[in-house]
């Protein structure tokens, strides 16, 4: 199933669709207020984009410098060329330390790599400790949003899930009650864990340290309580200097949730006393993307989710409708780049309204990328055959204005005379919920010629 079919399913419950749309629009409005509180907002975006351009152009150098500086701080650095290598490295580190219980903070990269099932198959208990991620993990679902993983769920759904798994009172939907139950449950997991895995928001080349931003402090507990900390990091998370970070921390939380800054912005510069810290640098297709002039700007992404919140299609189709790890405009371009065939409907899951491009703190040309992907999809013969034939026919017709004119005339005369069921039926998807325009008697060309004829 592609996006249209999944979206049709989602919009069937129109009340819930409205609720989802409004919940995310609320976040978008909060983001707007936060962005407007910074007079130099647009300059910050410019600067962020320039830093990313520069870093990506010299990524090899910055990565090697990062590795050297991290090692000097006693951090062990690993390189993973793909998801499989990443998962293998994590598993090996955990097995070397006889770890059976792992706590994880939010990491879209490990979602991308499919890490959890690999570890679980090897007898390791994996607990996602971000509240939203824990909720979807208990439900055996995937996150529907990269910042708000359980945004598709209402508090009643969470209550049911917690009742089933954490034995909370049935029907108690009080968010404070549910949050406290989750906290008590997670505290036990933190205390029992032998290792913690975190994602990475930014890696600082000049220091060799990594920065993790959360609102729940779960990364700090996960990295600080057990003796072993593994940080999984996409290679595009690199920043040259500590001072560059300031630009991004000002943009990240404001763009993501409208907060001035995340509750926790934690810098990790080495293992806890007597412990070990590992950083895994993951490529998994990123260097291929870096080599592509049309789409490389997608590597600027700081995973704030602003393009997702603002996307009117996402808000009305939900994250799972995309069928890719990352939903929304950024997910559609990354997904189509990664596997054009599997994700061929994603670049079309957009009206090209451009809101994503305007909202992006790193100035990724998101809607232009979706536009470009469409051409590649057609070139690869992956567009729905019916649609392609229709559009090619239209293209041909537009090159033959006489025929076009005749066709228009026939249509205008014919449609009003047809009985309604012949016009509105399953072959007319436009007419499922919409009336066709009223057919005028004459085209503008006809009117214009007549008018010209009347003029002296």
């Amino acid at each position: 199933m592609g996006h249209p079919e999944n979206a049709r399913e989602f919009t069937r419950d129109i009340e819930r669709t409205h609720w989802h749309d409004q919940a995310l629009w609320f976040v978008r409005e909060k983001r707007d207020r936060a962005a407007r509180s910074v007079p130099e907002w647009e300059e910050l975006r410019d600067q962020a984009a320039r830093i990313k351009w520069h870093t990506m152009a010299h990524l090899d150098r910055y990565l090697e410098q990062f590795e050297a500086n991290a090692k000097a701080k006693g951090i062990q650095v690993h390189w993973a060329k793909d998801a499989e290598a990443h998962n293998r490295i994590v598993l090996r580190i955990l097995q070397d330390h006889q770890v059976t219980r792992l706590v994880k903070s939010k990491s879209m990269l490990t979602e991308e790599c499919g890490l959890n099932p690999v570890l679980e198959q090897n007898g390791i208990e994996v607990v996602d400790t971000d509240l939203g991620e824990r909720i979807v993990q208990l439900r055996h679902e995937h996150p529907s949003h990269i910042v708000l993983p359980a945004i598709h769920l209402k508090k009643e759904d969470v209550s049911d899930t917690f009742h089933e798994h954490l034995h909370t009172e049935k029907g108690n939907n009080d968010p404070t009650y549910l949050t406290r139950a989750a906290r008590a449950h997670l505290r036990e997991k933190f205390l029992a864990a032998e290792a913690g895995l975190t994602g990475v928001n930014f890696g600082i080349s000049e220091t060799g340290g990594v920065v993790v931003c959360t609102n729940e402090g779960n990364a700090d507990l996960g990295a600080g309580l057990p003796r072993l900390h593994i940080a999984s990091m996409g290679i595009e998370k690199m920043l040259p200097r500590l001072q560059d970070l300031a630009v991004f921390t000002r943009l990240l939380a404001r763009s993501a949730t409208g907060q001035p800054i995340t509750s926790y912005t934690s810098h990790f510069h080495g293992p806890v006393e007597g412990g070990e810290m590992h950083i895994i640098l993951v490529d998994n297709g990123r260097s291929t993307l870096l080599g592509d002039p049309t789409y490389r700007k997608a590597l600027h992404c700081i995973r704030c989710g602003a393009c997702i919140n603002t996307c009117p299609v996402y808000r009305r189709s939900g994250g799972h409708s995309y069928g890719y790890t990352i939903p929304g405009p950024i997910g559609s371009t990354l997904g189509a780049f990664k596997d054009r065939k599997a994700n061929r409907t994603l670049p079309y899951a957009s009206t090209l309204c451009g809101s994503c491009t305007c909202v992006c703190p790193a100035q990724i040309d998101l809607h232009q990328q979706l536009y470009d992907h469409r051409q590649e999809i057609v070139k690869a013969g992956l567009l729905d055959r019916k649609k392609e034939t229709t559009l090619n026919l239209a293209g041909w017709l537009f090159k033959h204005p006489k025929l076009l004119e005749l066709g228009g005339k026939v249509l205008r005369k014919l449609v009003p005379r047809l009985p309604r069921p012949l016009v509105y039926n399953r072959f007319n998807p436009w007419g499922e919920a919409r009336e066709l325009p009223e057919m005028p008697a004459k085209s503008f060309k006809e009117l214009y010629r007549e008018r010209k004829g009347r003029q002296p």
């Binding site: 009117p312 293209g395 919920a433 503008f444």
Partner: protein, 251 residues
């Protein structure tokens, strides 16, 4: 100043009234307007779907037909954006293209920036909600997009304010997409319809009696929804209001 009137293909066939309103608004300002009959389609529906094999020919055709006018003016933000933002991919470097690109303007943009109309001698005693169509809005920058932290402006609103009796109402979401999106309206029809209905509801709760905009395609989509559901909102293109026309069905 000779103006080439650029009427989108589907407007020629389905919206001759709005096309004529465009011509009349321009002529009323004393402008010399010519409508070249050889024009067809700018190629936008194909390009937006990725079917670009005929695009070079269509773009060259457009260039040939329109290159000698002082300005090319069209009542559709998205078709103008096609020429200005997307033709370069197909005909960059063709003699006359750079000039054409600069001189192809959306109707309201032309009236606002080039003619700088002070006052429209018409009245429109209705509450009007403006739909800012995305391509005109974020691509041609007919107004400041709500996402950006830049000084606020809106060329379409500026024009509407020059009309007697017209009262602008403000929807809660100033520039959300209506969900038309070309073939999106058909291939993603469920989301498209949900988006359109949400825009209509927003305008209605703002108290709009008439919804207007600078792109007929968006208006066609929402008008189709409004008529199907019998909603009390009339849809008019900017050109019709600037031309002093009354809403359909009004005395």
């Amino acid at each position: 100043m000779r103006i080439g009137l650029f009427i989108p293909c589907y407007m020629n066939e389905l919206y001759p009234g709005i096309s004529m309103a465009t011509l009349e608004v321009l002529e009323r300002l004393g402008l010399d307007v010519d409508y070249p009959l050889a024009q067809t389609c700018c190629g936008q529906p194909m390009a937006n779907s990725g079917c670009t094999k005929d695009l070079k020919e269509l773009a060259l055709r457009f260039l040939r037909i329109f290159k000698d006018y002082d300005y090319v003016v069209g009542p559709s933000g998205s078709c103008v954006a096609m020429v200005r933002s997307h033709y370069a991919q197909f005909i960059e470097g063709e003699p006359g293209f750079d000039r054409l690109k600069e001189r192809t303007l959306e109707l309201c943009e032309f009236l606002h920036d080039v003619i700088r109309v002070e006052k429209f001698d018409v009245s429109f005693p209705y509450k009007v909600g403006l739909h800012n169509s995305c391509h005109g809005h974020r691509d041609l920058r007919l107004a400041s997009p709500s996402e950006l932290h830049i000084p606020c402006y809106n060329k379409l609103e500026n024009l509407l304010r020059k009309i007697d009796g017209l009262e602008l109402v403000t929807p809660q979401r100033p520039d959300e997409c209506c969900g038309f999106g070309g073939t999106f309206a058909v291939t993603e029809k469920d989301v498209s319809v949900a988006m359109g209905n949400d825009r209509i509801a927003d305008h209605l709760s703002a108290g709009a009696e008439v919804m207007t905009g600078a792109d007929v395609s968006c208006l066609m989509h929402m008008d189709g929804l409004i008529r199907r559901q019998g909603k009390p909102l009339r849809v008019m293109h900017m050109a019709q209001i600037l031309n002093g026309e009354a809403p359909d069905g009004a005395s």
